[in-house]
């Protein structure tokens, strides 16, 4: 997560100048916004190049990963940093998706405005749900959000005229601007939109996580009584975390519409909600980088497993179940090998290598109760 300006110092009189420039650069990168923007710009460049390298199907996969990331990043902040579990984020995505299409039907608005409205609408729903959630703990909160995941998408069948019933609502896919040239692949344009939204989400969440709000989220997660005594309004902090998380889910739902041109109950099943939480845990709870790994796994793994099944020319009944099997094996494997998820394992390995390179050992405080390897 740290971008370091480690340029090898050039020889001669330019060295001092370069050193000063480097330290100035480091100081600039100490600023939260600039560092996160620099990171996002780097990622944007990489994604831009990637989108030209990938084919149509793979660009669609990239766009899918991007909106999964948006939802998972919001969930990992809620569950990982604030300790509130939600099995209902799929339903929140549904709100964002339906809002995008319904508002788009009734008003001629640019896509960015539609996505912003979907985000805000879901955030407002998040205020209500979050206020309820702040009163619930652990399994009760899981149960309540589970009910949301099951119940909310079913509303589409309750109001078939307004919400389109089982078939849902459909809309036209976004049109790439003519300035990009004729024959610019739609899938690449969809990937750009989704990735841009994902990067904005990343910057905002990364800023927030590093701020006093991120600290308040974690303090409330760790000890509500101590947090209250330190002056934190625990319920308010919990609602805020839920609203932030819901806003992300809403944006993800809007992006899903951009990618699939459809909002239907079948897209927002309980399985989606559980997949989001699974991805957050797999990637590493509370870590935005982990949300990237998690999103990539839940999107790519089934495709890969299908490919493997086809190549091995297994019987159809085995092939059909292979993705589920691979998914289960990966889930169990990662959790056994890296209980803190992929990002947890990576930063542990990074810390290990870093200590080797620097060759210095952490001074252990005398009489310490042997904390063992500390992974942060």
């Amino acid at each position: 997560m740290t971008a370091r300006a480690t340029t090898p110092a050039p020889a001669g009189g330019a060295r001092e100048l370069a050193g000063r420039a480097a330290s100035r650069g480091r100081r600039l990168l100490d600023q939260t916004l600039l560092r996160n923007l620099a990171l996002a710009a780097l990622a944007a460049l990489g994604l831009y190049l990637l989108s030209y390298w990938l084919g149509r199907f793979d660009n669609l996969q990239l766009a899918t990963i991007a909106y999964y990331f948006v939802a998972i990043a919001g969930l990992t902040v809620l569950t990982g940093l604030n300790g509130q579990i939600s099995l209902g984020h799929g339903a929140l995505m549904a709100i964002g998706a339906y809002a995008t299409i319904k508002v788009g039907e009734s008003a001629e608005l640019p896509l960015a405005a539609l996505l912003a409205i979907a985000t805000i609408a879901t955030a407002l729903v998040g205020v209500v749900i979050g206020a309820g959630a702040a009163r619930l703990r652990g399994p009760y909160l899981a149960g309540a959000t589970l009910a949301l995941a099951v119940g909310l998408p079913a509303l589409a069948n309750r109001f078939p005229d307004f919400l389109g019933g089982e078939n849902g609502l459909s809309t036209a896919p976004p049109v790439p601007p003519s300035s990009l040239g004729v024959g610019f692949a739609l899938e690449r344009w969809q990937a750009w939109i989704a990735c841009a939204a994902a990067l904005i989400t990343f910057v905002v969440l990364a800023n927030l996580v590093r701020s006093r709000y991120g600290r308040a989220f974690r303090a409330v997660r760790d000890d509500e009584v101590a947090a209250a005594l330190a002056g934190l309004n625990v319920a308010r902090v919990q609602v805020l975390a839920f609203v932030v998380s819901a806003a992300c889910a809403g944006l993800a739902g809007g992006l899903l519409v951009v990618v699939t041109s459809l909002a239907a109950p079948g897209a927002f099943t309980l399985e989606l909600s559980i997949a989001l939480l699974t991805a957050a845990v797999l990637g590493g709870l509370g870590s935005l980088a982990g949300a990237v790994w998690g999103a990539a796994i839940v999107v790519l793994l089934p495709t890969w497993a299908e490919d493997i099944g086809r190549e091995l020319s297994l019987s159809t009944s085995v092939e059909a179940n292979l993705p589920l099997l691979v998914y289960g094996v990966v889930l169990i494997g990662v959790m056994l090998a890296a209980p803190r998820g992929i990002q947890g394992a990576l930063s542990w390995a990074g810390g290990l290598i870093g200590r080797r390179v620097r060759g210095h050992t952490e001074p252990r405080s005398r009489g310490a109760s042997a904390p063992g390897e500390e992974i942060t």
Partner: protein, 282 residues
């Protein structure tokens, strides 16, 4: 609303006699028929260090919980600087200049020592969500200001070198210091210490005693503690609770000699010295 009238009258009279300290009047708390506190009263003057002692289950922590608004008393009134605490919520205490340490440690296990103290320094403030989300330089400046405050507070307690360690990596005594730093960083006027010496060795305890004495005069301190040595050496006055009742209060030496205290608290029936009856009874 007769209660409110009562409260207003009480606070009016309190401000008339220029009271700025802590007034606890006739607190009664019942849990399912069990009396946790029965008609307990205590006045703590500004800058005073007052100890609350008593056997386990005597109601000491319940008294703290009443002051902090975690427990609502069935009867009685708590006033801090002439203001009724009847409606105060726990998170409002920091803004009223009240800090409390918890029994045990009560640190945030996922936050470094410095971050723990930063929460204490920052807690009561609210604004700035927008600048936090946008990562504006203003938010960065505020963060570095908070960190400086936190490092100062840790430095005051001699633990600045563990600023970036997680609590679980620290020995118990250092964790206690970090917890105290978190309570002190907000510069409270009233400090509630719940068994601050629990689990400490003799050296750490005497240093803690000096530190509490050092606060006296500036900070009003209410101290729940089992270690009699510490209580006797740092407290101006002591309140003794037994089964929720206040059985004695007064200067430490007087209370220590009180036969009722010896019987209830120490489980001693007779004192070798002749009983010094009199003003020690509360």
């Amino acid at each position: 609303m007769p209660r409110r009238v009562e409260g207003e009258r009480a606070s009016a009279s309190a401000s008339r006699d220029g009271s700025r300290g802590l007034r606890i009047r006739g607190i009664t708390v019942r849990f399912d028929g069990l009396i946790a506190l029965a008609d307990v009263s205590l006045d703590v003057e500004p800058g005073e260090v007052v100890g609350v002692i008593g056997p386990n289950g005597a109601g000491k922590t319940t008294l703290f919980n009443v002051i902090c608004g975690f427990v609502r008393p069935q009867a009685g009134e708590v006033e801090w600087r002439g203001r009724s605490m009847r409606r105060a919520r726990p998170y409002e205490l920091a803004g009223l200049g009240i800090s409390r340490t918890l029994q045990g440690i009560g640190l945030f296990s996922g936050l470094t020592a410095a971050e723990n103290v930063m929460v204490g320094a920052d807690g009561s403030r609210r604004a700035g969500l927008g600048s936090a989300m946008l990562g504006l330089p203003r938010a960065d400046r505020e963060e570095s200001r908070l960190r400086t405050l936190a490092l100062e507070a840790l430095g005051d307690l001699g633990v600045v070198e563990v600023a970036d360690a997680l609590p679980s990596a620290l020995p118990y005594a250092l964790q206690k210091r970090v917890a105290l730093a978190r309570a002190l960083v907000a510069r409270p006027q009233l400090l509630l210490l719940d068994e601050p010496a629990g689990g400490l060795g003799a050296d750490d305890m005497s240093e803690l005693g000096e530190r509490i004495r050092g606060l006296a005069g500036e900070v009003t301190v209410l101290l729940v503690e089992h270690h009699m040595d510490l209580v006797m050496s740092v407290c101006d006055r002591v309140l003794v609770l037994d089964f929720g009742r206040s059985i004695a209060s007064g200067r430490p030496a007087d209370v220590q000699a009180d036969p009722a205290v010896l019987e209830a608290y120490l489980g001693v029936e007779s004192d070798p010295r002749p009983p010094e009856a009199g003003d020690a009874h509360g």
